[in-house]
């Protein structure tokens, strides 16, 4: 009994069946590889080829074409042979002649600083508050996120109503007579408030999602070590949220650079609201100043590359770890 039973099971378990099973599996795997190799190649080829093609056609070609066109003068009509190649004249004109360019850069920078210093931290703050599951937390989440869902046209209408000099709510409540969108010293700030209204909700949702993903045991450990709420957040949770923090920073930068909609709804990017994006718009389209608009687009591209490259290098570093 004792002799036969222990011997019998080990033999089939570890020895005999296992030994033939392993080679079979390998053969099968090898066979699969061999069998599927032609289909596989096609599938892999398509899976790599199609995205590459899309990327090349929709991203690389336009980017390169834009760089090339920025050295030309062309009204967009007729064959490419009609482009006059004028070297860096477009860039010279942008930097030296165009009275809108430097204000536009300034406004873009101000936009970035405002979002980074005011709007983004506010979004993070709201996320931290709402993460505590206080009563009504879900309701507040929805309320703060609502502006992100609204269409741009609607946002434009809402803020026109808020800031209208004669019929607006802001002037009505404050009892002031300020021309919010017409006064070039103020309208950028009015636009920034409208823009932040949307940005805060966006950052809040991103950060909230990140906070939900933080291992609760980290907080427990911190609490056991006697850390208070503030210390727990800044010393433990915030560092643990590094990937989300990078995303938030990059999104803030990109949002600042591509700022367009609200400004365009207000006055098409004139009179104190010049931005690089609205300049590109005004010079393309009906104006058809293709070379000039391309040069502006290249400048914006170069500026945008800085945070994007930073983000990518960070992301790859994370992966390598």
């Amino acid at each position: 009994m004792t002799g036969s039973t222990p011997i019998a099971p080990p033999a089939p378990r570890g020895g005999a069946p296992a030994a033939p099973a392993k080679p079979v599996e390998i053969v099968e795997v090898k066979g699969k590889l061999k069998k599927l190799s032609t289909t596989d190649k096609v599938v892999i080829g398509l899976m790599i080829g199609i995205p590459t093609l899309i990327e090349a056609v929709l991203v690389w070609f336009p980017a390169v074409a834009s760089i090339v066109l920025s050295f030309g003068n062309w009204n967009g009509v007729g064959s490419l042979a009609r482009i006059q190649w004028i070297g860096v004249t477009n860039y010279q004109n942008i930097f030296e002649v165009d009275p809108n360019f430097w204000p536009a850069v300034q406004h873009n920078v101000l936009w970035l600083v405002f979002l980074a210093v005011v709007a983004t931290p506010l979004g993070v703050f709201l996320a931290v508050l709402l993460d505590r599951e206080t009563p009504g937390s879900k309701l507040f989440q929805s309320v703060f996120f609502l502006p992100v869902i609204f269409s741009l046209a609607l946002i434009g209408v809402i803020w026109q109503l808020m800031f209208s000099p004669e019929q607006g709510l802001v002037n009505g409540v404050l009892g002031t007579d300020i021309d919010w969108f017409g006064d070039s010293g103020i309208n950028l700030w009015a636009a920034l408030i409208a823009s932040s209204w949307k940005h805060v909700g966006y950052i809040m949702i991103l950060y909230l999602a990140g906070l939900k993903g933080v291992d609760p045991s980290l907080r427990e450990a911190a609490a056991l070590d006697g850390a208070n709420n503030r210390q727990t957040f800044f010393r433990v949770v915030f560092p643990a949220m590094k990937p989300i923090n990078i995303v938030v920073v990059v999104i803030t930068v990109i949002e600042a650079l591509r700022a367009f909609d609200i400004v365009f709804i207000i006055n098409k990017g004139n009179n104190g609201l010049q931005l690089l994006s609205t300049m590109i718009y005004t010079n393309s389209g009906a104006a058809a100043r293709v070379g000039y608009a391309s040069a502006l687009a290249v400048i914006l591209l170069v500026i945008a590359l800085v945070p994007i490259v930073t983000y990518l290098s960070q992301a790859f570093k994370e992966e390598n770890r």
């Binding site: 336009p62 834009s66 009509v77 004109n93 165009d98 070039s184 009179n271 590109i280 389209g285 104006a287």
Partner: protein, 459 residues
């Protein structure tokens, strides 16, 4: 009521991030995107709305109309690209086309595109697969496409109705190569609009010279009114003020030469214009850059402002029952040697794309040039007047009659700054420059800035 002047306004609704991307793509991708984008504008924006009722189409029309709907080129139909996306003009056009179909049995396949998108994609539209005929403007905006070979000359069509048009309209329809490309449909004058009841009540006299205008302004100010309503948030209304001041100070020819940059913006003559304007600014409503033309018009309607220099479409802001209270006077004379016989009256009409003409499109152009088609249209959109001088004006409102009088007495008709000069100069350069001038009143700075930038564009 529908002019390029409205572009700016309509952008408000037409704009979103997608169209931004589309435009970025257009500027960026350039040539590669051309066929792709133009096919988009041709088909996706409005779809085909046939303006005809099937019962009125003749046998030939309905037999070929179906097959022609796709290509829109053969058989008993014409394809027609329209930027009249607003409700009022769209309906008015539908009525015109229905009449045409009734008479000729030719179906009109109307491809309506949002007003603003139409304007912005016009280059690609005309190079891609355009409709045979399309709505457009006289002046440099027509000239430009004629030079690029994107239009078909229509001199033979014109031969049929040339005697029904005054010289101003014929000139406005002729390009630099001497060929005619444009069929005028209607136009509307720019002038000082005011409420008759206000002028009667206060005993104001219509000014005929600049000095009288200033005196009137001072009186209005004393009465607690803003003399001249003014809103330039969208950038284009100030162009009208500049056009008139320049034409009255330096004459029509100088104005047109300036628009073509044959004259310099730093010319002392141009500086005089800005100086005059600066002198008039205290009579204008303050803070114009935060006010739309509609808001400015409302202050005239509410009798908070005395008068308003704008196109006749200002009437849209009048309550219908008070429409008859609206009146206008021509921009006063500034220099008696120059006079006041130049009128700003943008003309809207039609062009034939490079697809060439068919019997059907010839018939439609001829019909559209006729007084009956134009009056039919005005029945649905009374803020314009017919271009054809034989059109019966007996059905016109007093305001329309006065407009006809003003336009027909004009020696020269300008088309508005953004139609008389290059589009890449008007909107990216002139709008910000004029707005800056309205803010700081710096004559030297605005003329230098305009000249520096003009040099980089008119090369």
């Amino acid at each position: 009521m529908t002019g390029s002047d409205f572009d700016a306004l309509l952008r408000k609704t037409g704009m979103n991030r997608r169209s931004m991307l589309r435009l970025m793509g257009m500027g960026v991708a350039g040539a590669a995107a051309v066929p792709l984008l133009s096919s988009c504008t041709g088909t996706s924006n409005g779809g085909n709305t046939s303006a005809t009722s099937t019962s009125t189409a003749s046998a030939a029309g309905s037999a070929t109309g179906g097959s022609a709907a796709g290509g829109g080129q053969v058989g008993g139909s014409v394809s027609f690209g329209s930027n009249l996306s607003d409700e009022v003009p769209k309906k008015a056009y539908e009525a015109v086309f229905a009449k045409f179909t009734e008479q000729s049995g030719t179906t009109v396949n109307v491809n309506t595109v949002d007003h603003n998108s139409f304007q912005e994609n016009i280059n690609n539209y005309l190079q891609g697969s355009p409709d045979e005929l399309f709505t457009w403007f006289a002046g440099n905006r027509m000239q430009f496409f004629a030079e690029q070979g994107l239009l078909t000359p229509i001199d033979d069509v014109w031969a049929g109705f040339e005697d029904q048009y005054s010289e101003g309209f014929i000139n406005a329809s002729t390009a630099a190569d001497g060929n005619k490309y444009f069929v005028p449909f209607y136009n509307y004058p720019w002038a000082f609009f005011y409420r008759k009841s206000l002028f009667e009540e206060k005993g104001y006299e219509v000014p005929t010279t600049l000095d009288e205008l200033k005196t009137l302004g001072a009186t209005m100010q004393a009465d607690g009114l803003a003399p001249i309503a003014f809103g330039d948030k969208d950038g284009w209304p100030a162009m009208g003020t500049f056009d008139y001041l320049n034409m009255r100070t330096n004459g029509y020819q100088f104005h047109m030469d300036l628009m073509a940059h044959k004259e310099a913006w730093t010319d002392p003559k141009v500086k005089t214009v800005f100086d005059t304007w600066k002198g008039l600014l205290p009579l204008h409503q303050s803070d114009p850059l935060g006010r739309t033309w509609q808001e400015a018009a409302q202050s005239m309607v509410k009798k908070e402002a005395g008068m308003y220099l704008l196109g006749m479409f200002v009437g849209q802001q009048m309550p219908t029952e008070e429409y008859d209270d609206l009146d206008f006077f021509a921009f006063p004379e500034i220099d008696s040697t120059i006079g006041a016989d130049a009128v700003e009256a943008p003309i809207d009409g039609f062009l034939a794309s490079s697809k060439g003409l068919t019997d059907q499109s010839r018939a439609l152009l001829t019909y559209l040039a006729s007084p009956e088609a134009q009056l039919q249209y005005l029945g649905g959109d009374p803020s314009n007047v017919a271009a054809n001088k034989t059109a019966d004006t007996s059905g016109y409102s007093p305001l329309q009659k006065k407009a006809v009088e003003l336009i027909s007495s004009a020696k020269n008709i300008s088309q508005f700054l953004d139609r008389d000069t290059r589009p890449d100069f008007a909107s990216p350069v002139v709008i910000p420059a004029l707005q800056q001038f309205l803010k700081d009143g710096d004559v030297d700075s605005v003329t230098n800035s305009l000249e520096d930038q003009a040099k980089t564009i008119f090369v």
